[in-house]
Amino acid sequence: MGGSDPSGRLVRPFTLTGGRTRPSRADFTLITTVTTADPQPETAARPQPEHTRILRLCVRPMAVAELAARLDLPVSVVVIMLCDLLEAGRITVRPPRPVTTPDPDLLQKVREGLGRL
């Protein structure tokens, strides 16, 4: 957000979300991966500019937190736009691996990956 006027920040992002401040879906976590649907649905309305930016960035899979950082927008705002894009069929999402019961294979994979650093 750089040196922009902090009092102006709240107004602009939320105009991007049609005045809504709460996501309609709770399934976008920081590390949920978003991918632009290919091909795009033909019937969908023309996406607004911020949506188009998201669709460009997510041609390759990208996590929500990373997307927010690259858009320079709060995660909460990006999630609301992602809800719209998901409803329009313009993106697919992949939730993070559940970790409630530790998966030894997953942990081993992380261990080996770190060992290669």
Partner: protein, 199 residues
């Protein structure tokens, strides 16, 4: 960008990789972003969330004379551990009054690293308390000042009243290998816990 050519698995969601996260916690200015940056394949990224005063405890409003927009910044990095698995490292906000955000951050995390500043170890005490209370596995990594470690591990363990089963390591958060070894220590702890749970 590193990792961009490693997504090999085709799936219904465009070959998106699995994702997991680890939290990097500790007192303000202890070196969380330094640690993230030393092992991340990307320069640490930052997200900022606007906060309303309604999100803060009454105590936190003391001394706040004017209504203004406060933001909480989170720095994070990424490690592609294999073609279909990506690990994210999230530095938690260091200021204690933003800790209500930690619950969201901690949800779904594999575990945590609590970084401790060797000059003021007690500034990380609240972070330790947070993970202990929630039963989230963590290791304690003592970040040296200019890489110097004047105190042995056992002194730090005692100062922080850490139970024997919490691993304590000395590290230099500026060094890639050192930060990597801290993460590996956490994963080894998780593997040991998973093995114990499996009986």
């Amino acid at each position: 960008m590193a990792g961009s050519d490693t997504v090999s698995r085709a799936s219904a969601d465009g070959g998106a990789p699995d994702t997991v996260k680890i939290l990097i916690a500790g007192g303000f200015g202890v070196g969380k972003t330094t640690l993230v940056g030393s092992v991340s394949e990307i320069r640490p990224l930052r997200t900022e969330e606007p906060l309303t005063m309604a999100g803060l405890d009454v105590d936190d409003l003391e001394g706040v004379e004017e209504k203004r927009v406060t933001t909480v910044a989170m720095d994070f990095g990424r490690i592609t551990v294999s073609g279909d698995l990506v690990l994210y490292l999230f530095g938690t906000p260091g200021q204690q009054r933003f800790w209500f955000m930690w619950n969201d951050l901690a949800h779904g995390a594999l575990g945590a690293v609590v970084l401790v500043d060797v000059r003021r170890p007690k500034s990380s005490f609240a972070a330790i308390d947070f993970f202990e209370r929630r039963g989230i596995p963590f290791v304690v990594a003592v970040n040296g000042f200019h890489g110097e470690h004047p105190y042995p591990v056992e002194d730090i363990r005692e100062a922080l009243t850490l139970p024997a089963d919490v691993p304590v390591l000395l590290c230099d958060a500026r060094e890639r290998e050192s930060s990597r070894d801290v993460l590996i220590a956490l994963i080894d702890l998780l593997i040991a816990q998973a093995a114990a749970a499996a009986g």
